[in-house]
């Protein structure tokens, strides 16, 4: 059975200015250990989709099943525990700015009730894995974007996730830094067999690390399949547009997408 199963997922935002159907009848499944990409233009609903997986956003309809558990059937308390299994990294890193790098990595362990001393020792090993042990005492404001994302990755590793959701995790980084972060993600995926959902508008990212990809347009999945197949022979207009403009964007920005 699939590890993550999205089943007829719907999300409608209601506001005074009218309803926005951000996700319409989305269904797909992801296997354990897979890196699954979701691409789409700005506003396609990528962030909404990924936020529905760990229920940061409550779906309006459909089901999210993770490892056989129906996420929407969980109580508040159960949800908190399941969320520790589902890590998330963000475009803007979202580190605690008033805490040192080490204390940021300790944070998920504080939540899980790990003893402080033990947490600090473990945090250092996670920092070593992302190559930032020497920055343990620094504050996020003293780091570069790539280093901040590494801290965010170390922090998420500290919660020992089985799934990692990446929402535009490299979009704020330059091409070289993007490469090194992608390598790190790939490494983590292999080492811990963490299943990953990678949301991006950068085709290169998908090309490099995703096993399979889904193309999202106006809240609908219009095409999906193995990355290689979709990139070599996109079937829909939406996929073609995204994939062919990639080359244009690469020329314009020196190789990283927009």
């Amino acid at each position: 059975m699939a590890f993550i199963e999205i089943d007829h997922l719907e999300k409608t935002f209601t506001s005074k200015s009218g309803d926005t159907e951000a996700l319409k009848d989305i269904s797909f499944s992801i296997d354990k250990g897979e890196i699954f990409g979701v691409i789409g233009l700005s506003g396609a609903g990528k962030s909404t989709l990924v936020r529905c997986i760990n229920l940061l956003e409550k779906p309006s309809g459909g089901r999210v099943i993770i490892d056989g558990k129906d996420m929407l059937a969980l109580s508040e308390r159960e949800l908190k525990i399941v969320r520790r299994d589902i890590g998330m990294i963000f475009q803007h890193f979202n580190l605690l700015m008033q805490r040192t790098v080490l204390d940021n990595v300790c944070f998920p362990m504080e939540i899980a009730g790990v003893k402080k001393k033990e947490a600090r020792v473990k945090a250092l090993t996670y920092l070593e894995q992302v190559g930032l042990a020497e920055k343990a005492a620094a504050y996020p404001a003293q780091l570069s974007g790539g280093q901040k994302q590494r801290v965010a990755i170390a922090r998420v590793l500290a919660s020992k996730p089985r799934i990692l959701l990446c929402d535009e995790a490299t979009s704020a980084l330059d091409p070289q830094t993007t490469q090194s972060i992608l390598q790190l993600l790939k490494q983590i995926n292999e080492k811990y067999s963490i299943t990953m959902v990678v949301i991006t508008h950068e085709m290169r990212v998908v090309e490099q690390i995703c096993d399979r990809v889904a193309v999202l347009e106006y809240g609908k999945i219009v095409e999906s399949g193995r990355t290689k197949d979709v990139f070599e022979s996109p079937k829909t207009e939406a996929a073609r547009r995204l994939i062919y403009t990639r080359d244009y964007n690469d020329i314009m920005s020196g190789g990283s997408g927009i």
Binding site: N54, L56, K80, I81, R83, R84, I86, G87, M88, F90, H92, N94, L95, L96, M97, Q98, R99, T100, F107, P108, E110, I111, A112, Y139, A141, Q142, A152, R155, V156, S159, L165
Partner: protein
């Protein structure tokens, strides 16, 4: 004008009484205002525990309390002051109206400090499985600590101003001295000295608060 030991002693006692009133009122103001500010933050529409009706009620109560002029409040709460302190004049009695005036003001400042915290950071904490309590104490208060400290500094200054006003109705402290000597006895010298001392106190409190806030702020390199 008489600048004898007696006068100096009176001024020193005035400073002591003023600090006593201001510090305790601020302290009690935070005992009430901090939880209220937290409630306002988390219960608001985009808070971590949205309760629009609760926010609405608290919002209105805070607004009403804040719009009552302090001198009127001073008189209105006399029965409560008598009940709590046993008398309605003097420094200790003044702490009651000062606290009531300070609490909603402090709640608003706490609310605005906590609402400055980046939504993304709160979301990251939620994605790590943090509960409401963890988010309030470790994320909201932890991240907003410098802003909260600036708030304490502003509160101290504002309450100091109120405390001087309380002097008009026998509130004790420096305001009391300024009124009694400057206004009723035309001893302008003592009044001016009192005012200078009040200004100096505000400056000192302000400087200490801002310095602490700066030292504790890690967002800047």
């Amino acid at each position: 004008m008489t600048w004898d030991a007696e006068t100096v002693k009176m001024l020193l006692e005035g400073i002591r009484d003023t600090l006593y009133m201001v510090l305790f009122s601020t302290l009690f103001g935070y005992v009430l205002g901090l939880p209220l500010g937290i409630l306002l933050t988390v219960s608001d529409r985009d808070g971590i525990r949205p309760r629009p009706w609760l926010y609405r009620i608290l919002d209105i109560v805070v607004n009403i309390l804040r719009s009552v002029p302090f001198l009127i409040l001073l008189i209105l709460v006399i029965p409560l002051t008598r009940l709590l302190v046993g008398k309605s004049y003097g420094s200790t009695a003044t702490i009651v109206p000062l606290t009531i005036a300070a609490a909603p003001f402090i709640a608003r400042m706490v609310e605005s400090s906590l609402k400055e915290v980046d939504k993304g950071v709160i979301e990251a904490a939620q994605s790590l499985g943090a509960g409401t309590r963890t988010i309030i104490f470790k994320v909201l208060i932890g991240e907003a600590r410098t802003s909260l400290l600036v708030g304490v500094t502003i509160s101290l200054g504002t309450i100091l101003g109120y405390s001087a006003m309380a002097g008009v109705v026998g509130g004790g402290g420096l305001g009391d001295i300024a009124i009694r000597y400057g206004y009723y006895r035309y001893e302008t010298g003592i009044m001016i000295v009192t005012v200078i001392v009040l200004v100096a106190l505000v400056q000192i409190l302000q400087a200490i608060g801002m310095m602490l806030a700066k030292v504790l702020d890690r967002r800047r390199v």
